[in-house]
């Protein structure tokens, strides 16, 4: 019985991990710093979370569809340099649109590789990661471009509605919209079906390839958005801007509870993961914890959460795609006893 209680506790811990983490960070930050629980800090945590947030948000449907996109950082760099480069050529707003369009375009390339050429997404996006990171350097001759109109993007990070800035507001709205889409609309539900079991979804008349392709394009869109916002708000388009973004984005999504195996996840969980990670980073930074020590903490947190998840959900749960094609009910479900 004791064992059972422990398991239940673990299950609850996993279920409410975001709340627990956010509260823990708030308590830790509040106790160790005088100025942590202030409007200013909240605003800055939210604002800082935005860029990784967009990337993580874009990654969410991809992971739900059972795929992975390693190229988000490269897409972001490409979008950023496009935006800044195009500013003097076609004007500020069209240039921003062009940046996002570049993200979408590369997303479409990923979709093409995965859906049409049937290359495993891990390999395909590793290749596009290399290709577009390299292209970004070649196009700019490795030099960050500086904006001709540095003032244009500044309002993005200005004060706006209490703890928000315009870009963090857009991020929050995007996360909520995505939540509504994923949970409440048929296409959203179909995406889960595709990630959970693509062949079953196909046989129900769902165009699984279409959904997978769309998820990559969407990821491109969000990476484009991230690159565009980042470049405008820093008034610079750096070819290496996205190079360090992949790991925090994946970490945030996974901490939120979306699984790499597909079929599960939510954009609000991702939002939570992004915020928890962002708040933790800020709290640690303010305490003067060196970045490598922070890396140790986040790494341990990641391992802890996923191990806990694993242990709580039982060893019977399949851990890979191939294993889940064995369509059996989890062994720990009670036996049906219907013949009275």
């Amino acid at each position: 019985m004791k064992n059972f209680d422990f398991a239940l506790l673990g299950a609850r811990a996993v279920q409410y991990r975001l709340v627990i983490m956010l509260v823990a960070v708030a308590v830790f930050g509040g106790l160790s710093l005088d100025d942590f629980l202030t409007v200013n800090t909240l605003q800055s945590v939210l604002d800082r979370a935005t860029v990784v947030g967009f990337l993580a948000l874009g990654l969410t449907p991809v992971l739900i569809a059972g795929q992975i996109d390693l190229s988000i950082g490269s897409m972001m760099s490409m979008a950023g340099i496009t935006t800044i480069f195009m500013q003097p050529v076609i004007g500020n707003v069209p240039a921003a649109a062009a940046g996002v369009a570049v993200g979408i375009l590369i997303g479409a390339v990923n979709a093409l590789m995965v859906v049409v050429f049937k290359i495993n997404s891990l390999v395909a996006t590793l290749a596009t990661l290399l290709i577009f990171a390299s292209l970004a350097l070649l196009l700019t001759n490795s030099y960050p471009l500086s904006s001709e109109d540095p003032i244009f993007g500044l309002p993005l990070t200005a004060d706006f509605l209490w703890i928000l800035t315009p870009r963090s507001a857009i991020f929050l709205i995007a996360a909520v919209l995505m939540f509504v889409w994923l949970k409440l609309t048929p296409t959203g539900r179909n995406l889960y079906a595709v990630g959970s079991d693509a062949s079953a979804a196909t046989s129900s008349g769902i165009n699984a390839n279409g959904y997978i392709a769309a998820s990559f394009v969407l990821s491109g869109f969000f990476a484009g958005l991230a690159g565009m916002m980042q470049s405008l708000s820093t008034a610079a388009g750096s070819p290496v801007a996205g190079a360090v973004m992949l790991i925090p984005a994946i970490t945030a999504v996974v901490i939120g509870g979306t699984r790499l195996e597909g079929g599960r996840g939510s954009s609000l969980a991702t939002l939570g993961g992004v915020l928890a990670l962002g708040a933790l980073t800020t709290a640690l930074e303010y305490n003067g914890v060196p970045s490598y020590t922070q890396a140790i903490y986040t790494g341990l947190l990641l391992i802890l959460l996923i191990s806990l998840d694993r242990i709580v959900s039982g060893h019977g749960g399949a851990s890979s795609r191939a294993q889940r094609s064995v369509r059996v009910a989890p062994r720990n479900t009670p036996l049906p006893r219907r013949n009275a």
């Binding site: 100025d35 200013n40 800090t41 605003q43 800055s44 604002d47 800082r48 860029v51 350097l137 700019t140 490795s142 030099y143 960050p144 500086s146 904006s147 540095p150 993007g153 500044l154 990070t157 980042q230 708000s233 820093t234 008034a235 610079a236 750096s238 070819p239 290496v240 801007a241 190079a243 360090v244 973004m245 800020t282 930074e285 303010y286 003067g288 060196p290 970045s291 490598y292």
Partner: protein
């Protein structure tokens, strides 16, 4: 020079208990770490509270940390720019909030520098220029050279490449760049690339511009392996202990010494002076000391 700023730390009373936010380039790096230690030492000496946050070589992260420092309402900010432009919005915010910003080690872009009260450090663009002069002089302005550059897109790489190329051009140098490779400030990568360069160009390589001593070492290793017995003029930067040895042995022509610990101290002292309302020069230089066979025995390696 140093004398200007020594006075800054003289009257510590007025800044005691104030807070400084220091956006550093990295926590773990041969040059940056001692600089951070120097900054910490100077802050401790002045009794100010120093929070060090590391952008881990990412200007994007740094820009966000800068914003975050501003919104914390600290009394002064020390910034290590990872590229020229990305900090402009944060600098504007700091200006609005009345928080003085001083840059360390690397210059930001011109527009950004207008919002930065002072710059304390060796000028990396200048280092590129010095390297160009060294090579040009040693080779009498003729012959082929190879450039082993750092990580593409990295701020230091950009400054050292820029200064080097601009100076060659303005000198009207006759040096011919045979090839440029990026070896990411990594000895192994420099080694692998240099083997190929030596194979391709052999003794056409009269000179080598390595953007740090680690990569210079990689080149020398490749040269040694090749068994060829020509001696190109190898110019490095950073003043590493290994480079001192190589200069003594005549394998390397020169390096540029910039003491990191002192760089950190100097930057904090400058910032404190600004916070006190003293006027400081636009640039507080950390001397770029050229180390070659003539003075190698008189100097201490920086790292």
């Amino acid at each position: 020079t140093a004398a200007d700023t020594d006075t800054a730390s003289g009257d510590a009373g007025s800044v005691e208990g104030k807070s400084i936010c220091y956006v550093t380039l990295a926590n773990s790096h041969p040059y940056v770490t001692p600089a951070n230690e120097g900054a910490q030492a100077a802050a401790d000496a002045a009794g100010v509270e120093l929070t060090i946050v590391s952008e881990e070589f990412s200007a994007q992260t740094g820009a966000e940390q800068l914003n975050s420092c501003v919104s914390r309402g600290v009394d002064g900010i020390l910034l290590w720019p990872a590229d020229e432009n990305s900090y402009l919005p944060g600098l504007l915010k700091a200006e609005q909030a009345g928080i003085p910003v001083v840059a360390i080690d690397t210059r930001a872009g011109d527009e950004s520098m207008e919002l930065i009260k002072s710059f304390a450090g060796a000028d990396k663009y200048d280092q590129g220029k010095i390297s160009a002069q060294q090579l040009d002089g040693a080779l009498d302005s003729t012959g082929g050279i190879v450039v082993i550059a750092g990580q593409a897109g990295n701020g230091t790489e950009i400054a050292r490449s820029g200064g080097f190329l601009d100076e060659l051009e303005s000198m009207g140098s006759g040096l011919e760049i045979l090839a440029t490779v990026n070896a990411d400030f990594d000895q192994q990568k420099a080694l692998v690339a240099s083997r190929d360069l030596i194979t391709k160009f052999g003794d056409q390589i009269k000179g080598v511009y390595a953007q740090d001593d680690t990569m210079a070492k990689g080149f020398l290793q490749a040269l040694e392996e090749s068994g060829l017995d020509f001696v190109p003029v190898v110019v490095g930067i950073n003043g590493e202990a290994g480079a001192f040895d190589n200069i003594r042995e005549g394998k390397q022509f020169s390096t540029i010494l910039q003491p990191p610990f002192r760089n950190g101290e100097l930057a904090i002292e400058t910032l404190i002076a600004v916070m006190k309302g003293e006027t400081v020069p636009e640039m507080v230089p950390l001397e770029n000391t050229i180390v070659d066979s003539s003075n190698v025995d008189d100097l201490e390696p920086a790292l």
